[in-house]
Amino acid sequence: MTEPSGGPAVSSPPPSLRRRRRDRDIVVPEAEFTSYYGAPILKAPTWEALDVAGYLFLGGLAGASSGLAAGAGLSRRPGLARVSRLGAAGAITVSLVALVHDLGRPLRFYNMLRIAKVTSPMSMGSWLLSGYAPLALASAASDVTGIAPVLGQAAGIGAAALGTGVATYTAALVADTATPAWHDAHRHLPFLFAGSATAAAGGLGLLAAPLAESGPARRAAVGGAAVELAVTEHLKQTIGLSAEAYERGKAGRLMKAAEVLTGAGAALAAVSSRSRLLSRVAGASLVAGSVATRFGIFEAGVESARDPRYVVVPQRERLEARRTTTA
């Protein structure tokens, strides 16, 4: 909390806000920021960062890896296929454990499948995972054991199809909340998550697959990273005050780390096709970048829910603008 609890209820906007304002045409009088003793208006998510931000990363890695695995299988790149299948199976297994662990009543996890509800991204996600996880596990099991290769391949293609949804629905999961930094980014997060997931899956391929088969992983990594970096930059420039939540404090440091790791990883991936070592470094950097991105986004949301400024200032501006228009 930025204000002392006994402090005045009315304060002027912080300097950074003023700076932001000067860049725009001022159509409404500058709103004075008022709060109730600086107390939060919203409730921050009850979710544990390790469970849920961890899942945002792992779910993305798993989903996109299944896509990479299917492509590798069809194009006869067995090394890349195995790495991606095992990566997807491992990531989704840890994800399911994390998601159940994060529940207030883990023993009631099965209530997630009591209903199917399109207004709840978590409900849709539960059904998606119920379809995806068995297919991803079957695909990996078939690859490792050599049992039922045709069925394994089919399961892998099914996992690839559902995996694209697993990697992206989590954007709606966090954006469909009142948390300012998440909701205000709802136009960006689906594409940002798609980029981040693809970069992570490509990164895993570079990290662990044979160099000779790593071409598609390399291209996926570079393309995904480029999308992630571009969408993140656009997000910061267009979502208004909530952008500050992505630039300050712990979230700001994580997002900066993500930018550096993803950018450097992609650049290295683009030029390291002849070096096994450099490819591995690039892959590790990309995977780490995706982790930092997801934890950064998670922390930005938490911070924006804790600081009433992110709620009051944009809403007050919206109100005043509406009044100016009607008057």
């Binding site: 209820a9 883990p106 689906p190 809403q315």
Partner: protein, 291 residues
């Protein structure tokens, strides 16, 4: 009449209980909290705790005027806010006439509660169906179903519902579902000594609120304003409306809340596009030359 996605997730929705599947529903019930007559006695907080068996939630000293309760939460379903702040010299009113000026402290009290929104984000995002719409148009958690996923917590644009850590499940005001089903007034409204908290049919309460606002404005209380009364607002109108004497944020209320599900159609569309984008991108990654 068939209802589209849009009318069910944002905008005015006059038949909220019927839309939730009740064939014949009683009139929608709600609260009107008229803060101009609130004396800050906190009888509502106590009555709510007693009737609903809500556990004690900490005895902290905040230094924030007379408010040590702090905020609504899993164990606080009514919260009396105390706004104590310096105000510039202002015209006073006495019996409807303006007499002289006054300088000093503005002291406002308001009993906050769950808004029982027309478009309740908590309910819409709940993946288990634990949160449901009652026949009275109110929003209630079924405690035998809730698995503590916590999705409703960040979904609420008012920061009302929260998780009881030691229990794992979420809790909030039920508008005394167990009382109103037996024609009993909810505990808080029943205990309120000044009728600051009024319970009744939402349509009646909206009329009462409009009349009260008119009276106060005629008396020169220009800061008086209604909050949550309009079906055209961001949540399709609240089931608990307020008459406030200052801007909503001074009481810790969001000035212009919008239900998050208003944008969900667009979010799903973008998720679909992004998913297709991954598929196309990966296909492209394999389209290159074989080594």
């Amino acid at each position: 009449m068939s209802r589209t996605w849009v009318t069910l997730t944002s905008g005015p929705e006059p038949t909220v209980a019927e839309d939730a599947g009740y064939g014949q529903a009683p009139a929608r019930k709600g609260f009107f909290t008229d803060t101009s007559v609130c004396i800050g006695c906190k009888a509502c907080e106590v009555a709510c705790k007693e009737w609903n068996h809500v556990p004690e939630d900490g005895l902290t000293f905040t230094g924030n005027s007379y408010d040590n309760t702090q905020a609504l939460g899993a164990d606080t379903w009514r919260h009396v806010a105390f706004v104590e702040r310096s105000v510039p010299p202002a015209l006073d009113h006495d019996g409807g006439g303006l007499v002289g000026s006054r300088e000093g402290v503005q002291w406002l009290m308001s009993s906050d509660v769950c808004k029982h929104c027309t478009h309740a984000a908590c309910l819409d995002v709940c993946p288990t169906g634990a949160l449901f719409r009652t026949e009275f148009g109110t929003v209630v958690v079924q405690q035998d179903v809730c698995n503590g996923c916590g999705y409703c917590v960040p979904a609420c644009p008012y920061g009302v519902i929260d998780q009881r850590k030691e229990d794992g499940r979420v809790f909030k005001c039920t508008l005394c579902y167990d009382r109103i089903g037996h024609d009993q007034t909810p505990a808080c409204a029943k205990a309120c000594p000044t009728e600051s908290i009024q319970y009744g049919d939402l349509d009646d309460l909206r009329l009462r609120a409009a009349e009260r606002l008119e009276t106060l404005q005629a008396q020169g209380v220009t800061d008086a304003q209604l909050y949550g009364e309009s079906p055209d607002d961001g949540v399709g109108g609240a089931g608990a409306l307020f008459l406030l004497l200052a801007e909503p944020e001074a009481y810790g209320l969001p000035p212009d809340p919008v239900v998050t599900t208003r944008d969900l159609g667009r979010m799903w569309r973008d998720v679909g596009l992004a998913a297709v984008g991954i598929a196309v991108g990966l296909a492209g990654a394999f389209a290159g030359r074989r080594p």
